[in-house]
């Protein structure tokens, strides 16, 4: 009978871990639906970029208030995980504060430091909640932030509050035990609130908060993959696999290079049948749907935490156009999820008559982009909405010929006279004599 809590704990831990692993596996599979792109080079630079941008949060600090508050929550998340480790050990072995004997005199200061972080986190979370719900920061209230996106953001804040509340009260109750061994910096001041409770009530309450804290963490873990908050994990691979080239360098499409080389080769036989490639899928120029994008684009989509810094820096968005780089990422994620479910149900993808371009992202959004890279610069975790926009434009222009008329006229000029305007190429040096 005395082993019941241990068994319950192990069952909870195993269930949470298995469910989480399963969901992560599905997301991994979905990301794998993307086209291949080589990001295996420059591993040193990649590691450095990850340490700087994800671990060191360098780009978060572009906005000092949000940057500082986020840093508190982030550090406290990393550090309080040590305490969670202790809880897990206690839960499995049925011990109480298993790390205390090993840490000796250092134990109380360490837990006290965790408590300070917990209080700072509560303050930061409350400020975040205020910014989102009361002062209504513009970027949190764009059209794409209605419904689930908005609820999700608040859910995260509420879960964090509950976890911190449980952690502090668990310690506060214990401080009132008749045989209390521990007293910590913050919880000692919460302790008097519970001093009237009976010894049995104190022990029951302490266990209750202990379970609330750890079950809350298990629930949080499994909520993550359904939430924008998954960035706390994916920010690391995402920054590792980020594009390290100059932002102005847009990918050259290799399939097109082959065609162009053939066109420019005077000895090429235009009637030669292409070499048959068995079962080669029909290649499409650019991207129409989410699975035409690269896995890096899809990883970006799952990593996005919908902070909206990209959208608030976007010149098109700030002048009232429909384009929102954040929405590009959210649409991509929604669509690849949908494709994933479709494949899971049918074994293979069955056409559902929908596509990323058209049903999720409209032409009006697509053509408002100035390719200025402000969104890419603004993203604290190196997400690149511009790369997706350009792939969609490739499809719109090369496969559908649906570019705006004025751009078609410009392209005709480039084709005919080597300039975007209808001037004769022979006149290019006229300025010398004008």
């Amino acid at each position: 009978m005395s082993y019941l809590p241990n068994i319950l704990f192990i069952v909870a831990l195993a269930t949470a871990s298995v469910l989480f692993a399963k969901k992560v596996g599905r997301i991994r599979k979905n990301i794998g639906l993307g086209k291949d792109v080589d990001r295996s080079d420059r591993s040193r630079d990649r590691l450095q970029n990850m340490l700087r941008v994800a671990f060191g949060q360098s780009k978060m600090q572009a906005r000092p208030v949000a940057g500082a508050l986020h840093f508190i929550v982030y550090v406290s998340f990393l550090i309080i995980n040590i305490e969670v480790l202790e809880i897990v050990v206690d839960g499995i072995l049925g011990t109480h504060r298993a790390f205390a004997p090993f840490l000796g005199k250092a134990y109380a200061p360490i837990i006290s430091a965790f408590e300070v972080l917990a209080v700072l986190t509560v303050i930061a979370v409350l400020v975040f909640w205020w910014r989102r719900n009361v002062s209504k920061l513009d970027r949190f209230h764009k059209p794409e932030m209605k419904g689930w996106a908005f609820t999700d953001a608040n859910n995260i804040l509420y879960i964090e509050l509950v976890l911190m509340f449980a952690f502090l009260n668990m310690n506060a109750l214990e401080a009132n035990f008749a045989d209390a061994h521990h007293s910590f910096l913050i919880s000692q001041y919460i302790a008097p609130l519970w001093s009237g409770a009976s010894e049995w009530g104190l022990h029951f309450g302490e266990r209750l908060f202990w379970w609330l804290h750890i079950l809350g963490i298990f629930a949080f873990l499994n909520y993550l993959p359904y939430s924008k908050h998954f960035h706390i994990i994916l920010a690391f691979p995402n920054t590792y696999y980020a594009n390290l080239e100059a932002k102005g360098r847009f990918e050259n499409n290799a399939a097109v290079t082959k065609e162009v080389a053939l066109m420019m080769d005077p000895s090429a036989d235009p009637f030669a049948a292409p070499a048959p490639e068995a079962d080669a899928p029909i290649e499409r120029f650019g991207a129409k749907d989410a699975n035409d994008l690269s896995w890096a684009n899809l990883l970006n989509a799952y990593t996005c935490t919908e902070c909206g810094r990209c959208t608030s820096e976007c010149p098109a968005n700030m002048t009232g156009k429909k384009l929102s780089p954040r929405k590009i990422m959210m649409d991509t994620r929604d669509r690849i999820e949908e494709i994933g479910v479709n494949i899971a149900h049918n074994g293979t993808f069955v056409d559902d008559g929908k596509s990323l371009l058209g049903d999720f992202i409209t032409n009006e959004e697509l053509w408002a982009c100035t390719s200025c890279n402000a969104c890419v610069q603004a993203c604290p975790i190196d997400i690149d909405p511009l790369n997706i926009i350009m792939k969609l434009r490739n499809f719109a222009t090369m496969e559908e010929s649906s570019a705006p008329g004025a751009l078609n006229a410009m392209m005709t000029n480039v084709e005919n006279n080597g300039a975007p305007w209808p001037f004769n190429q022979m006149d290019r040096a006229n300025w010398i004599n004008e």
């Binding site: 080239e245 100059a246 932002k247 102005g248 360098r249 847009f250 050259n252 499409n253 097109v256 290079t257 065609e259 162009v260 080389a261 066109m263 420019m264 120029f285 010149p315 098109a316 700030m318 002048t319 009232g320 156009k321 384009l323 009006e364 053509w367 408002a368 982009c369 100035t370 390719s371 200025c372 890279n373 402000a374 610069q377 969609l392 434009r393 490739n394 499809f395 222009t397 090369m398 570019a403 705006p404 004025a406 751009l407 006229a409 410009m410 480039v414 084709e415 080597g418 300039a419 975007p420 305007w421 001037f423 190429q425 022979m426 006149d427 290019r428 040096a429 300025w431 010398i432 004008e434």
Partner: protein, 262 residues
């Protein structure tokens, strides 16, 4: 009319000579009346420094930047391959251009297609000449003038070059007032991504008007740009507020040419 001879690369090659640098003029620089003034200013500076340079003239074609940004990868690569054939045929090693779009495309997108050159934006090129002592700039007429600098996206964020243009302006002894959004956070003029060639989508404001307002809010008498397209957009934005008599929009090359009375 330029008072000096601007040779084409074909002429120079025929004479058995090779220039130190190829001046890539670009489409705007060749055809747009406003941008032609920037081209001429740059040619004057090049001539003034005594550097041997040439242009491609009729052998130059659009780099393909607007086609690529409009999604037409095919047309982009056609343009790129034609230009690369010309450039490689002349064994061009070093290119300078006054257009950040040409600069970006030549520098970043041509190498993979077989075009490998040392490409510089004119701000980088002129800044280097300054450091090497091959170009001298005196403050002259701009001493103490309030100016602001608009970072072109394709020079700034796209290629992380923020200092070269500012170093040049410093030499002119101007009083540089930065806009709230500058350098990495600079606001686009609205022309990039082929927007130059189409109407903007429906919205509440024009990007170039917003940006020109930001520039004028600094109290600057001169808005300095480093891109012919930004120049057009900002000039339009200044006119939108009917401030064209008070506020000038000038290119870096024009500033230097004016200061040196070239």
């Amino acid at each position: 009319m330029t008072t000096f001879h601007v040779p084409t690369l074909a002429q120079m090659t025929a004479e058995g000579k090779a220039p130190e640098v190829l001046f890539w003029v670009g489409c705007a620089g060749s055809f747009d009346d406003r941008a032609k003034k920037i081209t001429k200013a740059m040619a004057k500076i090049l001539h003034h420094t005594g550097i041997s340079f040439a242009v491609l003239g009729a052998e130059e074609g659009c780099t393909g930047d607007p086609a690529k940004r409009a999604g037409n990868e095919f047309l982009f690569q056609m343009q790129a391959m034609m230009n690369i054939q010309v450039l490689n045929g002349y064994e061009v090693k070093h290119i300078v251009t006054t257009c950040p779009h040409c600069f970006n495309t030549l520098k970043n997108e041509y190498p993979e297609l077989g075009g490998n050159y040392h490409v510089e934006h004119h701000s980088q090129f002129l800044n280097r000449l300054l450091k090497e002592g091959r170009l001298k700039i005196e403050g002259g007429s701009f001493k103490g003038k309030k100016i602001t600098f608009h970072d072109p996206c394709y020079l700034g964020r796209a290629n992380d070059e923020y200092e070269a243009p500012r170093a040049l302006l410093e030499k002119l002894d101007v009083s540089l007032k930065e806009m709230r959004r500058c350098k990495q956070n600079g606001l686009c003029c609205g022309a990039g991504g082929s927007q130059m060639f189409k109407e903007a989508e429906k919205g509440t404001a024009e990007i170039n008007h917003v940006r020109a307002d930001e520039a004028m809010d600094t109290g600057a008498e001169i808005v300095v740009a480093g891109c012919p397209f930004c120049n057009t957009m900002l000039t339009d934005g200044v006119k939108n507020r009917e401030k064209e008599d008070q506020v000038q929009v000038l290119d870096l090359a024009e500033m230097i040419a004016l200061a040196e009375d070239l």
